[in-house]
Protein backbone atom coordinates (compact mmCIF):
# COMPACT_ATOMS: atom_id res chain seq x y z
CA UNK A 1 0.00 0.00 0.00
CA UNK A 2 1.18 3.47 -0.82
CA UNK A 3 1.48 6.00 1.96
CA UNK A 4 -1.15 8.69 1.79
CA UNK A 5 -0.54 12.40 2.06
CA UNK A 6 -2.11 14.14 5.01
CA UNK A 7 -4.39 16.88 3.73
CA UNK A 8 -7.52 18.04 5.48
CA UNK A 9 -8.65 19.97 2.41
CA UNK A 10 -9.64 16.59 1.01
CA UNK A 11 -12.74 17.06 3.12
CA UNK A 12 -14.08 19.40 0.44
CA UNK A 13 -14.03 16.53 -2.04
CA UNK A 14 -15.98 14.33 0.35
CA UNK A 15 -18.47 17.03 1.29
CA UNK A 16 -21.00 16.40 -1.54
CA UNK A 17 -21.16 12.71 -0.67
CA UNK A 18 -21.51 13.55 2.98
CA UNK A 19 -24.37 15.97 2.35
CA UNK A 20 -26.31 13.73 -0.01
CA UNK A 21 -26.02 10.65 2.18
CA UNK A 22 -26.62 12.63 5.37
CA UNK A 23 -29.85 13.99 3.92
CA UNK A 24 -31.13 10.47 3.33
CA UNK A 25 -29.57 8.84 6.37
CA UNK A 26 -29.18 11.19 9.33
CA UNK A 27 -32.48 13.08 9.14
CA UNK A 28 -34.54 9.86 8.90
CA UNK A 29 -32.46 8.26 11.64
CA UNK A 30 -33.10 11.23 13.95
CA UNK A 31 -36.79 10.97 13.17
CA UNK A 32 -36.80 7.28 14.00
CA UNK A 33 -35.16 8.02 17.33
CA UNK A 34 -37.79 10.68 18.04
CA UNK A 35 -40.64 8.34 17.19
CA UNK A 36 -39.21 5.56 19.31
CA UNK A 37 -39.71 7.41 22.59
CA UNK A 38 -43.23 8.69 21.95
CA UNK A 39 -46.76 7.47 21.59
CA UNK A 40 -47.96 9.20 18.46
CA UNK A 41 -51.60 9.49 17.45
CA UNK A 42 -51.12 12.39 15.06
CA UNK A 43 -48.43 15.08 14.77
CA UNK A 44 -50.02 17.27 17.45
CA UNK A 45 -51.17 14.55 19.83
CA UNK A 46 -48.14 12.73 21.10
CA UNK A 47 -46.82 11.67 24.49
CA UNK A 48 -43.35 10.99 25.73
CA UNK A 49 -43.20 7.39 26.93
CA UNK A 50 -39.47 6.93 27.55
CA UNK A 51 -38.16 3.44 26.98
CA UNK A 52 -41.51 1.68 27.05
CA UNK A 53 -41.47 0.73 23.37
CA UNK A 54 -37.97 -0.62 23.61
CA UNK A 55 -39.00 -2.82 26.49
CA UNK A 56 -42.02 -4.03 24.54
CA UNK A 57 -39.97 -4.74 21.44
CA UNK A 58 -37.15 -6.49 23.25
CA UNK A 59 -39.63 -8.80 24.99
CA UNK A 60 -41.85 -9.41 21.98
CA UNK A 61 -41.70 -13.12 21.17
CA UNK A 62 -42.78 -12.58 17.54
CA UNK A 63 -39.68 -10.51 17.02
CA UNK A 64 -37.45 -13.06 18.73
CA UNK A 65 -38.84 -15.63 16.32
CA UNK A 66 -38.28 -13.36 13.35
CA UNK A 67 -34.71 -12.69 14.48
CA UNK A 68 -33.99 -16.38 14.95
CA UNK A 69 -35.54 -17.19 11.57
CA UNK A 70 -33.48 -14.42 10.04
CA UNK A 71 -30.20 -15.84 11.36
CA UNK A 72 -31.07 -19.39 10.29
CA UNK A 73 -32.03 -18.12 6.87
CA UNK A 74 -28.93 -15.97 6.39
CA UNK A 75 -26.59 -18.76 7.43
CA UNK A 76 -28.40 -21.34 5.30
CA UNK A 77 -28.16 -19.30 2.13
CA UNK A 78 -24.52 -18.43 2.85
CA UNK A 79 -23.67 -22.09 3.43
CA UNK A 80 -25.15 -23.01 0.05
CA UNK A 81 -24.27 -20.00 -2.06
CA UNK A 82 -20.60 -19.60 -1.19
CA UNK A 83 -19.44 -23.17 -2.08
CA UNK A 84 -21.78 -23.34 -5.07
CA UNK A 85 -20.57 -19.97 -6.31
CA UNK A 86 -16.94 -21.08 -6.06
CA UNK A 87 -17.73 -24.26 -8.02
CA UNK A 88 -19.49 -22.32 -10.77
CA UNK A 89 -16.61 -19.84 -10.97
CA UNK A 90 -14.12 -22.71 -11.31
CA UNK A 91 -16.14 -24.22 -14.15
CA UNK A 92 -16.47 -21.02 -16.15
CA UNK A 93 -14.30 -20.81 -19.27
CA UNK A 94 -11.53 -18.25 -19.10
CA UNK A 95 -11.14 -17.21 -22.71
CA UNK A 96 -13.05 -16.58 -25.89
CA UNK A 97 -16.68 -16.15 -26.85
CA UNK A 98 -17.78 -18.82 -24.39
CA UNK A 99 -16.45 -16.75 -21.50
CA UNK A 100 -18.52 -13.65 -22.25
CA UNK A 101 -21.59 -15.71 -23.04
CA UNK A 102 -21.31 -17.61 -19.75
CA UNK A 103 -20.78 -14.31 -17.90
CA UNK A 104 -23.88 -12.71 -19.37
CA UNK A 105 -26.07 -15.76 -18.80
CA UNK A 106 -24.91 -16.27 -15.22
CA UNK A 107 -25.46 -12.58 -14.39
CA UNK A 108 -29.06 -12.41 -15.61
CA UNK A 109 -30.80 -13.17 -12.27
CA UNK A 110 -28.96 -10.26 -10.64
CA UNK A 111 -30.63 -7.72 -12.92
CA UNK A 112 -34.19 -8.83 -12.43
CA UNK A 113 -36.23 -6.56 -10.15
CA UNK A 114 -36.70 -8.25 -6.80
CA UNK A 115 -40.44 -8.42 -6.97
CA UNK A 116 -40.21 -10.02 -10.40
CA UNK A 117 -37.88 -12.61 -8.86
CA UNK A 118 -40.65 -13.28 -6.38
CA UNK A 119 -43.19 -13.46 -9.20
CA UNK A 120 -41.05 -15.86 -11.23
CA UNK A 121 -40.85 -18.29 -8.33
CA UNK A 122 -44.44 -17.73 -7.36
CA UNK A 123 -45.37 -19.01 -10.81
CA UNK A 124 -42.58 -21.58 -11.11
CA UNK A 125 -43.40 -23.21 -7.77
CA UNK A 126 -47.14 -23.62 -8.25
CA UNK A 127 -48.23 -27.19 -8.81
CA UNK A 128 -50.92 -26.23 -11.33
CA UNK A 129 -49.10 -23.81 -13.61
CA UNK A 130 -45.43 -23.95 -12.60
CA UNK A 131 -42.75 -26.34 -13.80
CA UNK A 132 -41.05 -26.83 -10.45
CA UNK A 133 -44.28 -27.40 -8.56
CA UNK A 134 -45.50 -29.79 -11.25
CA UNK A 135 -42.19 -31.65 -11.17
CA UNK A 136 -42.41 -32.10 -7.40
CA UNK A 137 -45.94 -33.49 -7.67
CA UNK A 138 -44.80 -35.72 -10.52
CA UNK A 139 -42.10 -37.37 -8.40
CA UNK A 140 -44.68 -37.87 -5.68
CA UNK A 141 -43.94 -35.07 -3.23
CA UNK A 142 -46.99 -33.32 -1.88
CA UNK A 143 -45.56 -29.89 -2.47
CA UNK A 144 -47.36 -26.62 -1.78
CA UNK A 145 -45.37 -23.57 -0.72
CA UNK A 146 -48.49 -21.63 0.19
CA UNK A 147 -49.70 -23.98 2.90
CA UNK A 148 -46.75 -26.07 4.07
CA UNK A 149 -44.06 -24.22 6.09
CA UNK A 150 -41.29 -26.64 5.07
CA UNK A 151 -42.12 -26.22 1.41
CA UNK A 152 -42.30 -22.46 1.85
CA UNK A 153 -38.83 -22.46 3.40
CA UNK A 154 -37.48 -24.70 0.68
CA UNK A 155 -38.85 -22.38 -2.00
CA UNK A 156 -37.59 -19.20 -0.34
CA UNK A 157 -34.09 -20.65 0.11
CA UNK A 158 -34.07 -22.06 -3.41
CA UNK A 159 -35.14 -18.70 -4.76
CA UNK A 160 -32.36 -16.92 -2.92
CA UNK A 161 -29.78 -19.45 -4.10
CA UNK A 162 -31.04 -19.02 -7.66
CA UNK A 163 -31.01 -15.26 -7.33
CA UNK A 164 -27.70 -14.60 -5.58
CA UNK A 165 -25.30 -17.47 -6.30
CA UNK A 166 -24.38 -15.59 -9.52
CA UNK A 167 -23.04 -12.71 -7.45
CA UNK A 168 -20.70 -15.03 -5.54
CA UNK A 169 -19.77 -16.81 -8.77
CA UNK A 170 -18.90 -13.58 -10.56
CA UNK A 171 -16.91 -12.28 -7.60
CA UNK A 172 -14.91 -15.52 -7.48
CA UNK A 173 -14.54 -15.55 -11.25
CA UNK A 174 -12.94 -12.11 -11.18
CA UNK A 175 -10.71 -13.26 -8.32
CA UNK A 176 -9.59 -16.29 -10.35
CA UNK A 177 -8.88 -14.13 -13.42
CA UNK A 178 -6.33 -12.23 -11.36
CA UNK A 179 -4.10 -15.28 -10.83
CA UNK A 180 -1.05 -15.11 -13.15
CA UNK A 181 -0.65 -18.04 -15.55
CA UNK A 182 2.84 -18.81 -14.19
CA UNK A 183 1.33 -20.13 -10.98
CA UNK A 184 -0.55 -22.79 -12.91
CA UNK A 185 2.54 -23.62 -14.97
CA UNK A 186 4.53 -24.12 -11.80
CA UNK A 187 1.80 -26.38 -10.45
CA UNK A 188 1.81 -28.41 -13.68
CA UNK A 189 5.56 -28.91 -13.44
CA UNK A 190 5.16 -30.10 -9.87
CA UNK A 191 2.30 -32.39 -11.02
CA UNK A 192 0.09 -30.87 -8.36
CA UNK A 193 -3.34 -32.46 -8.08
CA UNK A 194 -6.49 -30.51 -8.95
CA UNK A 195 -7.28 -30.25 -5.26
CA UNK A 196 -3.79 -28.99 -4.42
CA UNK A 197 -4.07 -26.32 -7.11
CA UNK A 198 -7.36 -25.20 -5.61
CA UNK A 199 -6.22 -25.35 -2.01
CA UNK A 200 -2.82 -23.69 -2.35
CA UNK A 201 -3.15 -21.43 -5.39
CA UNK A 202 -6.76 -20.52 -6.05
CA UNK A 203 -8.29 -20.38 -2.59
CA UNK A 204 -5.70 -18.00 -1.09
CA UNK A 205 -6.24 -15.63 -4.02
CA UNK A 206 -9.97 -15.83 -3.50
CA UNK A 207 -9.97 -14.78 0.16
CA UNK A 208 -10.30 -11.09 -0.62
CA UNK A 209 -13.26 -11.40 -2.95
CA UNK A 210 -14.83 -14.08 -0.76
CA UNK A 211 -14.85 -11.73 2.22
CA UNK A 212 -16.60 -9.12 0.08
CA UNK A 213 -19.00 -11.80 -1.10
CA UNK A 214 -19.80 -13.02 2.39
CA UNK A 215 -20.24 -9.45 3.62
CA UNK A 216 -22.58 -8.45 0.80
CA UNK A 217 -24.56 -11.68 0.93
CA UNK A 218 -24.91 -11.62 4.69
CA UNK A 219 -26.09 -8.02 4.75
CA UNK A 220 -28.43 -8.35 1.79
CA UNK A 221 -29.98 -11.56 3.05
CA UNK A 222 -30.33 -9.93 6.44
CA UNK A 223 -32.55 -7.23 5.00
CA UNK A 224 -34.42 -9.37 2.50
CA UNK A 225 -37.96 -8.17 2.06
CA UNK A 226 -39.42 -8.02 -1.42
CA UNK A 227 -38.86 -11.58 -2.67
CA UNK A 228 -40.46 -13.50 0.22
CA UNK A 229 -43.15 -10.82 0.45
CA UNK A 230 -44.21 -11.50 -3.13
CA UNK A 231 -43.70 -15.25 -2.92
CA UNK A 232 -45.26 -16.22 0.39
CA UNK A 233 -46.30 -12.96 2.04
CA UNK A 234 -44.41 -14.17 5.10
CA UNK A 235 -46.64 -17.18 5.49
CA UNK A 236 -47.95 -19.77 5.91
CA UNK A 237 -48.62 -18.32 9.37
CA UNK A 238 -45.44 -16.41 10.01
CA UNK A 239 -43.04 -19.19 9.02
CA UNK A 240 -41.20 -17.08 6.43
CA UNK A 241 -41.59 -13.67 8.08
CA UNK A 242 -38.11 -12.22 8.34
CA UNK A 243 -37.03 -9.08 10.17
CA UNK A 244 -37.74 -6.51 7.47
CA UNK A 245 -41.15 -7.91 6.85
CA UNK A 246 -42.05 -7.99 10.53
CA UNK A 247 -40.96 -4.36 10.66
CA UNK A 248 -42.97 -3.27 7.64
CA UNK A 249 -46.02 -5.11 8.95
CA UNK A 250 -45.80 -3.21 12.18
CA UNK A 251 -45.00 0.19 10.66
CA UNK A 252 -47.35 0.23 7.67
CA UNK A 253 -49.80 -2.55 8.43
CA UNK A 254 -50.65 -1.65 12.00
CA UNK A 255 -49.26 1.89 11.87
CA UNK A 256 -47.67 1.51 15.30
CA UNK A 257 -45.13 4.28 14.80
CA UNK A 258 -43.52 4.08 18.22
CA UNK A 259 -42.92 0.33 18.48
CA UNK A 260 -41.94 0.16 14.81
CA UNK A 261 -39.34 2.89 15.36
CA UNK A 262 -37.95 1.13 18.43
CA UNK A 263 -37.81 -2.08 16.42
CA UNK A 264 -36.00 -0.22 13.61
CA UNK A 265 -33.36 1.01 16.01
CA UNK A 266 -32.72 -2.41 17.53
CA UNK A 267 -32.51 -3.87 14.01
CA UNK A 268 -30.16 -1.07 12.97
CA UNK A 269 -27.90 -1.60 15.99
CA UNK A 270 -27.59 -5.31 15.22
CA UNK A 271 -26.69 -4.50 11.61
CA UNK A 272 -24.20 -1.88 12.75
CA UNK A 273 -22.50 -4.35 15.09
CA UNK A 274 -22.22 -7.11 12.48
CA UNK A 275 -21.10 -4.60 9.86
CA UNK A 276 -18.39 -3.24 12.14
CA UNK A 277 -17.07 -6.70 13.03
CA UNK A 278 -16.87 -7.66 9.35
CA UNK A 279 -15.31 -4.35 8.33
CA UNK A 280 -12.66 -4.42 11.03
CA UNK A 281 -11.77 -8.00 10.10
CA UNK A 282 -11.38 -7.09 6.43
CA UNK A 283 -9.26 -4.07 7.20
CA UNK A 284 -6.99 -6.01 9.55
CA UNK A 285 -6.57 -8.78 6.99
CA UNK A 286 -5.62 -6.27 4.32
CA UNK A 287 -3.14 -4.64 6.68
CA UNK A 288 -1.46 -7.98 7.37
CA UNK A 289 -0.76 -8.51 3.69
Amino acid sequence: MQTKVENNKAWFLVLPVFLIVAFSAIIPLMTVVNYSVQDIFDPSTRYFVGTEWFQQVMLDSRLHDALLRQFIYSFTVLAIEIPLGICVALMMPTKGKGASLALILVAIPLLIPWNVVGTIWQIFGRADIGLFGAFMSYIGVDYNYASNPTDAWLTVVLMDVWHWTPLVALLCYSGLRAIPEVYYQAARIDRASRWAVFRYIQLPKLTNVLIIGVLLRFMDSFMIYTEPFVLTGGGPGSSTTFLSQALVQQAIGQFDLGPAAAFSLVYFLIILLVCWVFYTTIMNMQKDK
Partner: protein
Amino acid sequence: MTPSNTQAPVHSTAERKARHAQWRGRFGLVLYIVLLLLPIYWLINMSFKTNTEILSGLSFFPDNFTLENYAKIFGDATWYMGYVNSIFYVSMNMVISLLVALPAAYAFSRYKFIGDKHMFFWLLSNRMAPPAVFLLPFFQLYSSVGLFDTHIAVALAHCLFNVPLAVWILEGFMSGVPREIDETAYIDGYTFPRFFVRIFIPLIRSGIGVTAFFCFMFSWVELLLARTLTSVDAKPIAAIMTRTVSASGMDWGLLAAAGVLTIIPGMLVIYFVRNHVAKGFALGRV
Protein backbone atom coordinates in the same frame (compact mmCIF):
# COMPACT_ATOMS: atom_id res chain seq x y z
CA MET B 1 13.33 -32.12 -30.96
CA THR B 2 10.86 -34.87 -30.18
CA PRO B 3 9.84 -35.77 -26.61
CA SER B 4 11.62 -38.83 -25.29
CA ASN B 5 9.65 -42.08 -25.16
CA THR B 6 9.78 -42.44 -21.41
CA GLN B 7 8.16 -39.04 -20.87
CA ALA B 8 5.34 -39.30 -23.37
CA PRO B 9 2.90 -41.71 -21.60
CA VAL B 10 3.03 -39.76 -18.33
CA HIS B 11 2.23 -36.56 -20.18
CA SER B 12 -0.68 -37.99 -22.06
CA THR B 13 -2.25 -39.45 -18.92
CA ALA B 14 -2.01 -36.08 -17.24
CA GLU B 15 -3.41 -34.39 -20.30
CA ARG B 16 -6.25 -36.84 -20.60
CA LYS B 17 -7.06 -36.26 -16.94
CA ALA B 18 -7.02 -32.51 -17.48
CA ARG B 19 -9.23 -32.85 -20.54
CA HIS B 20 -11.69 -35.02 -18.61
CA ALA B 21 -11.79 -32.45 -15.83
CA GLN B 22 -12.43 -29.77 -18.39
CA TRP B 23 -15.32 -31.69 -19.94
CA ARG B 24 -16.80 -32.37 -16.53
CA GLY B 25 -16.51 -28.64 -15.85
CA ARG B 26 -18.24 -27.72 -19.12
CA PHE B 27 -21.00 -30.20 -18.43
CA GLY B 28 -21.52 -28.88 -14.90
CA LEU B 29 -21.59 -25.31 -16.14
CA VAL B 30 -24.11 -26.04 -18.87
CA LEU B 31 -26.29 -27.88 -16.36
CA TYR B 32 -26.09 -24.95 -13.95
CA ILE B 33 -26.97 -22.41 -16.63
CA VAL B 34 -29.88 -24.52 -17.87
CA LEU B 35 -31.28 -24.74 -14.34
CA LEU B 36 -30.67 -21.01 -13.94
CA LEU B 37 -32.55 -20.12 -17.10
CA LEU B 38 -35.42 -22.55 -16.62
CA PRO B 39 -37.53 -20.28 -14.37
CA ILE B 40 -36.92 -17.37 -16.74
CA TYR B 41 -37.82 -19.50 -19.73
CA TRP B 42 -41.01 -20.49 -17.98
CA LEU B 43 -41.91 -16.83 -17.52
CA ILE B 44 -41.24 -16.04 -21.19
CA ASN B 45 -43.21 -19.10 -22.23
CA MET B 46 -46.16 -17.99 -20.15
CA SER B 47 -46.09 -14.45 -21.44
CA PHE B 48 -46.99 -15.75 -24.92
CA LYS B 49 -49.96 -17.77 -23.69
CA THR B 50 -53.53 -16.77 -23.05
CA ASN B 51 -54.82 -17.07 -19.51
CA THR B 52 -57.09 -19.97 -20.38
CA GLU B 53 -54.15 -21.90 -21.81
CA ILE B 54 -51.98 -21.14 -18.77
CA LEU B 55 -54.61 -22.49 -16.41
CA SER B 56 -55.55 -25.48 -18.53
CA GLY B 57 -52.26 -27.32 -18.20
CA LEU B 58 -48.49 -27.38 -18.55
CA SER B 59 -46.72 -27.14 -21.86
CA PHE B 60 -43.21 -26.17 -22.88
CA PHE B 61 -44.36 -24.17 -25.87
CA PRO B 62 -47.42 -21.97 -26.24
CA ASP B 63 -50.10 -23.76 -28.31
CA ASN B 64 -51.82 -20.58 -29.32
CA PHE B 65 -48.95 -18.17 -29.63
CA THR B 66 -50.28 -14.73 -28.71
CA LEU B 67 -48.83 -11.24 -28.36
CA GLU B 68 -51.98 -10.02 -26.68
CA ASN B 69 -50.31 -9.60 -23.28
CA TYR B 70 -47.58 -7.42 -24.72
CA ALA B 71 -50.08 -5.46 -26.80
CA LYS B 72 -51.99 -4.66 -23.63
CA ILE B 73 -48.87 -3.24 -21.98
CA PHE B 74 -47.73 -1.16 -24.95
CA GLY B 75 -51.24 0.08 -25.60
CA ASP B 76 -51.87 1.43 -22.12
CA ALA B 77 -50.05 4.56 -20.91
CA THR B 78 -50.44 3.64 -17.24
CA TRP B 79 -48.48 0.48 -18.03
CA TYR B 80 -45.70 1.64 -20.29
CA MET B 81 -45.16 4.87 -18.38
CA GLY B 82 -44.02 2.63 -15.51
CA TYR B 83 -41.02 1.59 -17.59
CA VAL B 84 -40.29 5.19 -18.53
CA ASN B 85 -40.50 6.24 -14.88
CA SER B 86 -38.19 3.45 -13.73
CA ILE B 87 -35.60 4.16 -16.42
CA PHE B 88 -35.82 7.87 -15.68
CA TYR B 89 -35.07 7.67 -11.97
CA VAL B 90 -32.48 4.95 -12.41
CA SER B 91 -30.52 7.11 -14.89
CA MET B 92 -30.84 10.11 -12.62
CA ASN B 93 -29.54 8.09 -9.72
CA MET B 94 -26.60 6.82 -11.80
CA VAL B 95 -25.57 10.35 -12.76
CA ILE B 96 -25.89 11.76 -9.24
CA SER B 97 -24.06 8.82 -7.66
CA LEU B 98 -21.14 9.07 -10.07
CA LEU B 99 -20.85 12.86 -9.87
CA VAL B 100 -20.58 12.95 -6.08
CA ALA B 101 -18.69 9.69 -5.67
CA LEU B 102 -15.82 10.45 -8.07
CA PRO B 103 -14.19 13.29 -6.09
CA ALA B 104 -14.89 11.57 -2.77
CA ALA B 105 -13.32 8.31 -3.92
CA TYR B 106 -10.29 10.29 -5.09
CA ALA B 107 -9.99 11.88 -1.65
CA PHE B 108 -10.22 8.51 0.09
CA SER B 109 -7.67 6.87 -2.20
CA ARG B 110 -5.10 9.70 -2.07
CA TYR B 111 -5.32 11.61 1.19
CA LYS B 112 -5.42 11.15 4.90
CA PHE B 113 -7.77 13.51 6.67
CA ILE B 114 -9.46 13.76 10.03
CA GLY B 115 -12.10 11.09 10.42
CA ASP B 116 -11.45 9.51 7.01
CA LYS B 117 -11.74 5.93 8.23
CA HIS B 118 -14.84 6.61 10.28
CA MET B 119 -16.39 8.47 7.37
CA PHE B 120 -15.73 5.50 5.10
CA PHE B 121 -17.24 3.09 7.58
CA TRP B 122 -20.26 5.32 8.09
CA LEU B 123 -20.82 5.40 4.34
CA LEU B 124 -20.61 1.62 4.11
CA SER B 125 -22.94 1.14 7.05
CA ASN B 126 -25.57 2.99 5.01
CA ARG B 127 -25.15 0.46 2.22
CA MET B 128 -25.90 -2.21 4.82
CA ALA B 129 -28.85 -0.53 6.51
CA PRO B 130 -32.18 -2.14 5.69
CA PRO B 131 -34.43 0.25 3.70
CA ALA B 132 -37.36 -0.93 5.80
CA VAL B 133 -35.85 0.96 8.75
CA PHE B 134 -36.06 4.27 6.89
CA LEU B 135 -39.41 3.72 5.24
CA LEU B 136 -41.67 5.93 7.32
CA PRO B 137 -39.36 8.89 7.85
CA PHE B 138 -38.49 8.82 4.15
CA PHE B 139 -42.10 9.18 3.25
CA GLN B 140 -42.48 12.11 5.60
CA LEU B 141 -39.16 13.72 4.73
CA TYR B 142 -39.87 13.77 1.01
CA SER B 143 -43.45 14.86 1.53
CA SER B 144 -42.34 17.75 3.72
CA VAL B 145 -39.88 19.07 1.14
CA GLY B 146 -42.48 18.66 -1.59
CA LEU B 147 -40.68 15.94 -3.52
CA PHE B 148 -43.14 13.13 -2.95
CA ASP B 149 -44.08 11.31 -6.17
CA THR B 150 -41.24 12.80 -8.22
CA HIS B 151 -38.43 10.95 -9.95
CA ILE B 152 -35.78 12.92 -8.12
CA ALA B 153 -37.13 11.70 -4.77
CA VAL B 154 -36.57 8.06 -5.71
CA ALA B 155 -33.20 8.88 -7.27
CA LEU B 156 -32.10 10.64 -4.07
CA ALA B 157 -33.42 7.87 -1.84
CA HIS B 158 -31.51 5.27 -3.84
CA CYS B 159 -28.37 7.35 -3.35
CA LEU B 160 -28.49 6.13 0.24
CA PHE B 161 -27.10 2.75 -0.81
CA ASN B 162 -25.67 3.51 -4.27
CA VAL B 163 -23.37 6.39 -3.33
CA PRO B 164 -21.52 4.39 -0.66
CA LEU B 165 -21.19 1.48 -3.08
CA ALA B 166 -19.93 3.78 -5.83
CA VAL B 167 -17.35 5.31 -3.49
CA TRP B 168 -16.25 1.84 -2.42
CA ILE B 169 -15.81 0.52 -5.97
CA LEU B 170 -14.19 3.67 -7.36
CA GLU B 171 -11.80 3.88 -4.42
CA GLY B 172 -10.60 0.37 -5.27
CA PHE B 173 -9.98 1.27 -8.89
CA MET B 174 -8.30 4.58 -8.05
CA SER B 175 -5.93 2.99 -5.57
CA GLY B 176 -4.65 0.92 -8.48
CA VAL B 177 -3.49 4.06 -10.32
CA PRO B 178 0.07 4.98 -9.28
CA ARG B 179 0.39 8.26 -7.42
CA GLU B 180 3.35 9.29 -9.60
CA ILE B 181 0.87 10.13 -12.36
CA ASP B 182 -0.81 12.73 -10.14
CA GLU B 183 2.49 14.23 -9.07
CA THR B 184 3.84 14.45 -12.62
CA ALA B 185 0.67 16.16 -13.78
CA TYR B 186 0.82 18.75 -10.99
CA ILE B 187 4.49 19.46 -11.81
CA ASP B 188 3.48 19.94 -15.44
CA GLY B 189 1.19 22.70 -14.27
CA TYR B 190 -2.18 20.98 -14.35
CA THR B 191 -4.75 22.30 -11.90
CA PHE B 192 -6.70 19.73 -9.93
CA PRO B 193 -9.98 19.94 -11.89
CA ARG B 194 -8.18 19.86 -15.23
CA PHE B 195 -5.99 16.94 -14.18
CA PHE B 196 -9.01 15.07 -12.84
CA VAL B 197 -11.10 15.42 -15.96
CA ARG B 198 -8.38 15.19 -18.62
CA ILE B 199 -6.02 12.58 -17.22
CA PHE B 200 -7.48 10.77 -14.24
CA ILE B 201 -10.98 9.97 -15.42
CA PRO B 202 -9.82 8.39 -18.70
CA LEU B 203 -7.46 6.21 -16.65
CA ILE B 204 -10.27 4.69 -14.61
CA ARG B 205 -12.81 4.52 -17.44
CA SER B 206 -13.57 0.86 -16.90
CA GLY B 207 -14.01 1.48 -13.19
CA ILE B 208 -16.59 4.14 -13.96
CA GLY B 209 -18.40 1.81 -16.36
CA VAL B 210 -18.54 -0.89 -13.72
CA THR B 211 -19.74 1.56 -11.06
CA ALA B 212 -22.50 2.79 -13.36
CA PHE B 213 -23.48 -0.82 -13.93
CA PHE B 214 -23.76 -1.50 -10.20
CA CYS B 215 -25.72 1.71 -9.61
CA PHE B 216 -28.07 0.74 -12.39
CA MET B 217 -28.44 -2.76 -11.02
CA PHE B 218 -29.27 -1.87 -7.44
CA SER B 219 -31.54 1.02 -8.35
CA TRP B 220 -33.37 -0.99 -11.01
CA VAL B 221 -34.13 -3.95 -8.77
CA GLU B 222 -35.17 -2.02 -5.66
CA LEU B 223 -38.88 -1.74 -5.03
CA LEU B 224 -39.63 -1.01 -1.39
CA LEU B 225 -38.42 2.61 -1.37
CA ALA B 226 -39.49 3.33 -4.94
CA ARG B 227 -43.00 2.17 -4.16
CA THR B 228 -43.24 4.10 -0.91
CA LEU B 229 -42.10 7.39 -2.41
CA THR B 230 -44.38 7.41 -5.44
CA SER B 231 -48.09 7.27 -6.08
CA VAL B 232 -48.98 8.18 -9.67
CA ASP B 233 -46.57 10.34 -11.63
CA ALA B 234 -43.35 8.53 -10.87
CA LYS B 235 -44.65 5.06 -10.09
CA PRO B 236 -42.14 2.39 -11.13
CA ILE B 237 -43.11 -0.56 -13.28
CA ALA B 238 -42.44 -2.97 -10.45
CA ALA B 239 -45.21 -1.34 -8.41
CA ILE B 240 -47.61 -1.20 -11.33
CA MET B 241 -47.26 -4.95 -11.74
CA THR B 242 -49.28 -5.51 -8.60
CA ARG B 243 -52.33 -4.35 -10.58
CA THR B 244 -52.56 -7.75 -12.22
CA VAL B 245 -54.11 -9.04 -9.02
CA SER B 246 -57.77 -8.23 -9.24
CA ALA B 247 -61.07 -9.48 -7.88
CA SER B 248 -61.43 -11.87 -10.79
CA GLY B 249 -58.12 -13.56 -9.93
CA MET B 250 -54.60 -13.20 -11.26
CA ASP B 251 -53.93 -12.14 -14.81
CA TRP B 252 -50.96 -14.51 -15.13
CA GLY B 253 -50.20 -13.84 -18.78
CA LEU B 254 -50.05 -10.08 -18.31
CA LEU B 255 -47.95 -10.46 -15.16
CA ALA B 256 -45.48 -12.69 -17.03
CA ALA B 257 -45.26 -10.28 -19.96
CA ALA B 258 -44.61 -7.33 -17.64
CA GLY B 259 -41.95 -9.39 -15.85
CA VAL B 260 -40.22 -10.30 -19.11
CA LEU B 261 -40.07 -6.65 -20.10
CA THR B 262 -38.34 -5.74 -16.82
CA ILE B 263 -35.56 -8.22 -17.55
CA ILE B 264 -34.65 -6.76 -20.94
CA PRO B 265 -33.03 -3.44 -19.85
CA GLY B 266 -30.80 -5.34 -17.43
CA MET B 267 -29.67 -7.71 -20.16
CA LEU B 268 -28.84 -4.79 -22.47
CA VAL B 269 -26.77 -3.11 -19.78
CA ILE B 270 -24.84 -6.24 -18.92
CA TYR B 271 -24.15 -6.82 -22.60
CA PHE B 272 -22.48 -3.41 -22.82
CA VAL B 273 -20.22 -3.90 -19.82
CA ARG B 274 -19.49 -7.61 -20.34
CA ASN B 275 -15.77 -7.03 -20.88
CA HIS B 276 -15.39 -5.15 -17.62
CA VAL B 277 -17.67 -7.25 -15.50
CA ALA B 278 -15.02 -9.77 -14.54
CA LYS B 279 -12.79 -7.04 -13.17
CA GLY B 280 -15.63 -5.00 -11.82
CA PHE B 281 -17.16 -7.67 -9.67
CA ALA B 282 -13.99 -7.77 -7.63
CA LEU B 283 -14.79 -4.10 -6.94
CA GLY B 284 -11.28 -3.26 -8.18
CA ARG B 285 -9.83 -5.04 -5.22
CA VAL B 286 -8.21 -8.24 -6.39
